[in-house]
């Protein structure tokens, strides 16, 4: 498998992990998630040591997991405490346990060996902060995660794939600056549009009638976390000299890009906003519109995966200027994959 290992990945939203057993394959590794009675999220290899039966098909006995095939019973630390019809438990009866951290409403899992440093997990504080309302979802993608990275690093595709929602002609026409911080391992792509058309997605949610200034500042922290800092303001409205920007509208668009298998991906999408906080209609509108946009990408990327599956060996794609950020992201991912 070719994934960056020794990395943290978004495995689930906090509310997905509860009393039940959640099965998710992350970077090729089948994992079962559940929450103990004391509230801790647990992640164990989803495969009984005995005959490989998925533990997620078994059931819980308090904080323990009981295999649905022969009753092997595991503690949250992975140790086996009961096997059928005998008292002696083989010393090797243990399933791997995965380091898990819950932060910013996301359940992060460490894929790899070595030191799972929780401070290395990138932050998305808007997802669980006062003054923000979040809509979100997760779409399983029948496509490799690299295709989603490509997609998100070049927003000029909004103009063509998402016209009528978030795309306007100006997106594909505005100067962009791409930067890579080699030490921090972050790729940024910034597009500051001035005095442009307001797409329906933002006109309907902010109530702005006229033209806008629109900032799109991408911050990708490979492999998993993608942030799009989106600022919408009536044309000409700049942040105050002291940095106060409360007159503008902000949406923090967050993606967790989590490889499942080599050709499937979990597409976690989230939109946090700092406006119309008490307006349920805006919440519903943004949830539905954004899901529509995400599904437009899903359809396109699933199609691309099929194209890749049938293309001849050694096919050469072509890159142009819009791909500057995507190529930078690919290089950092390659470096991470090679190093792990």
């Amino acid at each position: 498998m070719v994934f960056p290992r020794n990395q943290w990945y978004v495995a689930a939203y906090g509310e997905e992990v509860g009393d039940g057993l959640l099965a998710r394959t992350i970077c090729g590794e089948p994992i079962v998630f559940y929450r103990t009675r004391s509230g801790d999220a647990v992640a164990l290899a989803d495969r009984c040591v005995h005959r490989r039966f998925p533990l997620s098909e078994g059931h819980r006995d308090g904080d323990r997991l009981v295999c649905g095939y022969h009753g092997f019973t595991y503690e949250p630390d992975g140790s086996c405490v009961a096997v059928p019809a005998q008292k002696r438990i083989p010393r090797t009866a243990r399933v791997p346990v995965y380091p898990v951290v819950e932060q910013d409403s996301l359940v992060w899992v460490w894929i790899g060996d070595g030191d799972a440093d929780p401070t290395a997990i990138p932050r998305a504080p808007w997802l669980a902060a006062d003054g923000w309302v979040v809509v979100r979802g997760m779409e399983p993608l029948e496509a490799r995660y690299e295709l989603l990275v490509d997609n998100l690093m070049d927003l000029s595709h909004e103009t063509y794939l998402h016209g009528g929602y978030i795309g306007t002609p100006e997106v594909a026409e505005t100067p962009i600056t791409t930067s890579v911080d080699e030490e921090a391992g972050v790729v940024r792509v910034s597009r500051r549009m001035k005095d442009v058309e307001c797409p329906p997605f933002y006109a309907n949610s902010t109530g702005i009638k006229g033209r806008i200034d629109r900032w799109q500042d991408i911050e990708y922290q490979p492999p998993c976390l993608y942030l799009l800092h989106s600022r919408i303001a009536p044309a000409g409205l700049e942040p105050a000299p002291d940095g106060d920007d409360s007159a503008a509208f902000h949406a923090e668009i967050v993606y967790g890009i989590t490889p499942s298998t080599e050709t499937t991906t979990f597409d976690f999408w989230m939109v946090a906003r700092d406006f119309a906080l008490d307006d349920p209609e805006v919440t519903t509108y943004l949830a539905e519109s954004n899901r529509t946009v995400v599904m437009q990408d899903v359809v396109a990327l699933n199609l691309l995966e099929k194209v890749i599956a049938t293309e001849p060996e050694g096919y050469q794609e072509l890159s142009i200027n819009i791909d500057t950020g995507g190529l930078a992201a690919r290089r950092l991912l390659q470096r991470m994959t090679d190093g792990s």
Partner: protein, 99 residues
Amino acid sequence: MSDALLRVVWSPGSDHLTGVCHCGAEYRADGPIEVWQWLLAHPDHEAGIEAADHGASTEAPGHGASVETVGHGASIEASDREASVETLGHEASPEASID
């Protein structure tokens, strides 16, 4: 800003990408693969391309000759290039200057 910050500036409609290395060296490229190759070659930046735009050659013997230059925080607008002073790039050699 990090010592390891590499930047590429692009105006759609323009066919060029401008790469700006953390050392201050700049380069104008015709595509993203070329611009990243140039940036990642630091400190052995290949000299060249920009000169064509000025009708002068910056070809310099040996590797690492800096192309053109900016001080920190200098504007990277193309129009400023004419005025840009010769380089502060780490491996710049005086012979490489454009007169």
